[in-house]
């Protein structure tokens, strides 16, 4: 835990934060701004509550927890918990194909996989943590999640086998199809 994580420090920060809220409420009423007329409906969320609920991960890496893993470790996790749906190498199914498909997006039978289609590696953490394995979502530890991500990126030839994936490395990985998306141009059919 870093220097800012001590409980005393946090209490101090919360005190400062509370003072700022009080001051801004006062200044709001001074400046004639209307405070919410719904005050008292809904209770303030504590930092701890937000920390527990806040499970998303953004492309900047915000929200990635501590932990790490390698493709070698991930191979074991994948075989035990993922292969039953995605196949031993992530290509066989029966559910979503995860590996391969590069250079197929312009063909009559595109294969959308992590390697061929996904624009952000951080999405892997967001999705696997919250939704996988299908029969036991949110059951993987951070290390297991990083490991299985490392294995998927290695299988898709995006990283070398010995790369240790953690929060910092994952948020810096550039996916092959990063520039494969355009904003909605519709109406596009005239």
């Amino acid at each position: 835990m870093d220097a800012y994580g001590t409980s005393m420090h946090r209490r101090f920060l919360r005190y400062v934060g509370a003072s700022i809220i009080v001051l801004s409420c006062i200044s709001a009423s001074w400046s004639g701004e209307k405070a919410s007329e719904y005050e008292g409906i809904g209770r303030p969320a504590t930092d701890e509550e937000i920390r527990v609920w806040n499970i998303d991960v953004s492309p900047t890496g915000e929200g990635l927890p501590p932990g790490e893993g390698t493709a070698k470790q991930g191979a074991q996790v994948f075989a035990a918990k993922c292969a039953v749906c995605h196949g031993p190498t992530g290509t066989e199914g029966p559910k979503d194909r995860l590996v391969g498909g590069q250079n197929t997006l312009q063909t009559p039978t595109p294969v959308r996989t992590i390697g061929s289609y996904w624009p952000y590696a951080t999405t892997l953490y967001d999705y696997i943590r919250r939704a996988m394995p299908f029969d036991a979502p949110q059951s993987l530890t951070p290390n297991e999640t990083y490991s299985v991500i490392a294995w998927l990126l290695f299988q898709n030839q995006i990283i070398a086998e010995d790369v240790v994936i953690d929060a910092q490395i994952l948020s810096k990985i550039e996916m092959p199809n990063l520039n494969g998306f355009v904003p909605d141009p519709r109406p596009d059919v005239r």
């Binding site: 809904g42 969320a45 519709r186």
Partner: protein, 422 residues
């Protein structure tokens, strides 16, 4: 036992049978023998009828159901395997008016329908707000409320339109759209309560299902004006399949972003790029690029009577169907009987509401000759529903989602209706 007693006993037996049928209504299609038994009960004018019931149910003679769409590319039919049992389709071919009964509203979920105790459910609103707050369902109901009748359509509706035409019913092709009256709190009210900051331009919405489904919502003027946090559907609480006790509702936007079982809203400055808005629900174009955040459902229409796999007789038919647009009101629906060579304007049934199913009607005498029936909708932005040829010319056939081309039904000389591309 005298005659009167016998009559009462029989009546009680029937009532008991009826309640058993009602209890099993979801899964039971009444056998014709049992229906017959009810039908031949005593003259209804000479026997007192059933007593009031605490919660109503449809007539035991009605057996209309949703059908199972299974996963993409999988055959239709109810699947036992949970991971293949991902949606159900609204039986449009037999519904009246514009509102879909809650029990027949289509479903699409990504890891089953959770059972949530509303007393324990909470909604957290945080991120770029002055006051991160946690709301109970009861607290949300204390805030000013609003109601609106609007359609909800999965962006994968009619996805088979991108492939070869199959001989299917309208339910198979178009069953992933429904209309309800939705009731809840305006998103803008909630954001006012938490003191949303000006720099907040995107909002993550997250469900409390086993998929933890999360989507990024652009905080635009349109969204602020129209988005709702809903707890009501057609006058009562949301159905579990529709997000009980809380769902996000964004009129006109693709179904997936209307996050069900809503537990969290997080305000930010950029899209969160979840799996659902990158790997899925993006539209792959012929050049290998994909459209992203294609949220609005463009104007669409379909003739429901007569439609695929139906059989008609020569003589009078009221052609009728549904038209809708995620950009606003439907202003015109035209019908063609000759595969799009000539068009006539159909009558629009009131009410015609923005971003809502609109019923259209067109009288027709079928003379027994082959015909190709089409409908074409126009919305208040002037957008005209395209032909399949026009759509495919721009988007190819790999985009999976947002298919909205003109539907063609071929009536052969025997009166059999076929799904075709014309």
């Amino acid at each position: 036992m005298n005659d009167a007693q016998k009559k009462i006993d029989r009546r009680m037996f029937l009532r008991h049978s009826a309640s058993v049928f009602a209890f099993n209504a979801a899964t039971l299609a009444l056998s014709s023998a049992k229906a017959e038994e009810l039908r031949i009960s005593d003259d209804p004018m000479r026997v007192p009828g059933d007593l009031p019931r605490p919660y109503g149910t449809r007539s035991p003679f009605e057996s209309l159901t949703r059908t199972n769409g299974a996963g993409p590319g999988a055959p239709h039919g109810w699947a036992n395997n949970a991971s293949n049992n991902v949606n159900s389709l609204t039986p449009l071919q037999a519904l009246h008016g514009i509102v879909t009964p809650s029990a027949l509203h289509f479903e699409r979920h990504h890891n089953g329908v959770p059972t949530i105790d509303p007393a324990r459910h909470r909604l957290l609103v945080h991120g770029l707000v002055d006051r991160p707050l946690i709301f109970t369902v009861e607290e949300l109901k204390r805030l000013p409320s609003t109601s609106r009748i609007a359609f909800l359509e999965c962006s994968g509706n009619t996805r088979d339109g991108w492939r070869e035409a199959q001989d299917v019913m309208v339910q198979d092709l178009y069953g992933l759209t429904s209309t309800s009256e939705w009731t809840g709190v305006k998103l803008s009210t909630l954001l006012e309560a938490v003191g949303v900051r000006r720099e907040a331009t995107w909002m993550l919405a997250e469900g409390s299902d086993a998929a933890g489904l999360d989507r990024s919502v652009p905080v635009t003027e349109e969204v602020l004006n129209e988005a709702m946090i809903c707890y009501g559907q057609n006058g009562e609480a949301l159905r579990p399949e529709q997000g009980y006790p809380l769902r996000l509702f964004l009129p006109g936007f693709e179904g997936n972003i209307n996050v069900k079982w809503l537990r969290r809203l997080k305000l930010g400055t950029a899209p969160f790029m979840t799996r659902w808005e990158t790997a899925k629900y993006t539209d792959l174009m012929p050049d290998g690029k994909a459209y992203q955040f294609t949220l609005v459902m463009e104007a669409k229409s379909v003739i429901i009577h007569p439609s695929g796999q139906q059989q008609i007789q020569p003589g009078f038919h009221e052609i009728n169907g549904l038209a809708w647009s995620g950009r606003g009101k439907v202003t015109k629906v035209e019908v063609s009987l000759d595969g799009g060579r000539t068009w006539s304007t159909a009558h629009l049934q009131e009410p015609v509401l923005p971003k809502c199913h609109t019923r259209f009607r067109f009288p027709w005498h079928w003379n027994g000759q082959e015909a190709i029936l089409q409908s074409r909708s126009v919305d208040e932005t002037g957008y005209i529903q395209p032909t399949r040829e026009e759509l495919v010319k721009v988007r190819g056939t790999n985009s999976l989602y947002h298919y909205n081309a003109i539907q063609s039904w071929r009536v052969d000389r025997n009166g059999r209706i076929w799904n075709i591309y014309a």
